[in-house]
């Protein structure tokens, strides 16, 4: 059963997307989207890094574990990296990470790698809107809440098995 407060939170749930954008292409494209007033969903929060190659897979997992419903990584198109090959490194890592996320039960659409060049403001809009909608369809990932549930699992199970008997030291 949900309390009224929780219910209202459920009703107002909005997807949270953490976006790691490289300084030279994708972050600039986001600036361009701004300058061009290309309205899009307010669900993505951008973290600027110098290169998509700086994005440690830990950042993505950390974002999920802290409550992100989706993570977006944006870099320069292959061949266009400001640092020559950083985006290829990102691509290699993210191909493997994507597979691993799938094995860990994180739906495919929750993590996205996109090449967006400095001129593609329109693409920022499309990608963020599209991803917001995809994640919205998937619903909340809610890992922090799940962690909490897992840590109190004993309590829950004991209650169901032993009726009113309280768990020891819970």
């Amino acid at each position: 059963m949900l309390t009224a407060g929780e219910q209202s939170k459920t009703n107002t749930w909005e997807p949270r997307i953490v976006a790691f954008f490289c300084n030279w292409c994708t972050y600039t494209a986001a600036d361009l989207a701004g300058v061009s007033r290309l309205r899009h969903a307010p669900n993505a929060r951008i973290i600027r890094v110098m290169c998509s190659g700086r994005v440690d897979p830990q950042f993505i997992l950390d974002a999920f574990s802290k409550g992100a419903d989706g993570v977006l990584l944006g870099g320069c198109h292959p061949g266009d990296c400001h640092y020559m090959e950083g985006n290829y490194k990102a691509l290699r890592r993210m191909r493997l990470l994507k597979r691993m996320l799938k094995d860990m039960g994180i739906e495919e659409h929750r993590f996205r790698l996109e090449w967006i060049s400095a001129s593609e403001g329109e693409r920022i809009k499309t990608v963020i809107n599209e991803m917001t909608e995809q994640v919205r369809t998937l619903g909340p990932l809610g890992l922090p809440k799940k962690f909490e549930e897992w840590d109190t699992e004993m309590e829950v199970l004991e209650r169901t098995v032993n009726g009113k008997e309280e768990a020891v030291h819970a």
Binding site: D56, P57, Q58, I60, L61, D62, F64, S65, P78, Y88, K89, L91, R92, R93, R95, L96, L97, R99, M100, D103, M104, G105, I106, L141, L143, K146, F147, W150, D151, E153, M154, L157, E158, V161, A167, V168, H169
Partner: protein, 321 residues
């Protein structure tokens, strides 16, 4: 004669190897026994739960708990030991990281029970009988502990003071830890009692790793003739050494087996699996998606490979259902 410090060893979800490792102290164990009073060690001595319950809180100097937390009994005992002890050491990979039992976090409780009691090849159970939680025998209720859906490392259940890593910890590290305890020369709380540098630092094959390594294929150790003189990564074998804390002195590697990561990450890393993934993938040679995927496909089970010991303490902790 002043009372000897009280010590306990307790065994949760683990294989028992950690218990044996205590015996691996060999003749040193005599010094230990002489210096401390072991008040609980179920694998070796017949103390009962009620004996510990009867003790005063914080009356035990240190409890060494190995194994992950998988059942309600383990949780209950861990909490009991915590209450009675001044210090708790997570002993071995399972307590430290979740360990091999933690791999069960890729499945649901029901999937596991179903497999064990109904589907595994060695099981004949046409009635699909499952153990009852509560059974009456001779008028007495016998209760089985509850089997959790989630496997947890020790510090996800109780407060842990120190970690002794390894599957199992080496006698050398255990000796050092005990010496520190008995001398009262204790490091900062939360310390992992092993060097905070990756295994490569002490790897015997360190010098043979090239500086321009590019992977086109990963090989599984049982399918290749391993050259015992050369770095295993250089031979295309996934070795977790670069992302794993040192201290074992490369025992597996000396035995021609790659490091599988039992010492966990260094203090600077939050997620060992993500880090080794990042390091290995960065060195893949291919540049196009297809080529990259082809190379990476030669790692058939990334979760099982990169989180062999650390799934419960990884950032995602378990498979999301």
């Amino acid at each position: 004669m002043p009372e000897k410090p009280k010590v306990t060893f307790y065994w949760c979800a683990s294989c028992g190897g950690c218990e044996e490792s205590v015996v691996d102290l060999a003749e040193n164990i005599l010094d230990v026994v002489a210096a401390v009073d072991i008040v609980m060690w179920p694998v070796a001595m017949d103390f009962k739960k009620k004996d510990v319950e009867a003790m005063e809180d914080k009356s035990i100097l240190v409890s060494m708990i190995n194994g992950a937390i998988r059942t309600s009994e383990q949780e209950e005992m861990a909490k009991l030991m915590r209450r009675k002890s001044q210090l708790v050491i997570a002993y071995g990979s399972c307590a430290h990281l979740g360990g091999i039992p933690g791999l069960a976090n890729q499945f649901q409780r029901e999937e596991i029970l179903q497999y064990i009691f109904e589907e595994s090849p060695s099981t004949v159970n046409p009635q699909k009988t499952r153990p009852e939680r509560k059974v009456m025998t001779n008028g007495n209720a016998v209760t089985l502990p509850n089997f959790f859906n989630v496997v947890r490392a020790l510090d996800q259940v109780i407060d842990v003071d120190y970690y002794l890593p390894g599957c199992p910890p080496t006698p050398k590290l255990l000796k050092q830890a005990l010496d520190a305890l008995l001398s009262g020369n204790l490091p900062e709380k939360g310390t992992v009692l092993a060097p905070d540098i990756a295994l490569c630092d002490e790897c015997p094959k360190k010098d043979t790793k090239p500086s321009d390594l590019k992977f086109t294929e990963f090989k599984r150790p049982h399918l290749v003739q391993i050259d015992s003189a050369t770095c295993l990564l250089a031979q295309g074998i996934v070795c977790m050494g670069p992302a794993t804390r040192g201290g074992c002195e490369g025992v597996c590697i000396s035995g021609n087996m790659p490091c599988t990561g039992c010492f966990g990450p260094t203090s600077r890393v939050k997620d060992q699996g993500a880090k080794i993934l990042s390091a290995l993938a960065s060195q893949v040679e291919a540049k196009d998606e297809k080529g990259i995927d082809a190379t990476l496909a030669t790692i058939p089970d990334p979760v099982g490979t990169f989180y062999r010991y650390g799934l419960p303490i990884s950032l995602l902790r378990r498979k999301n259902f």
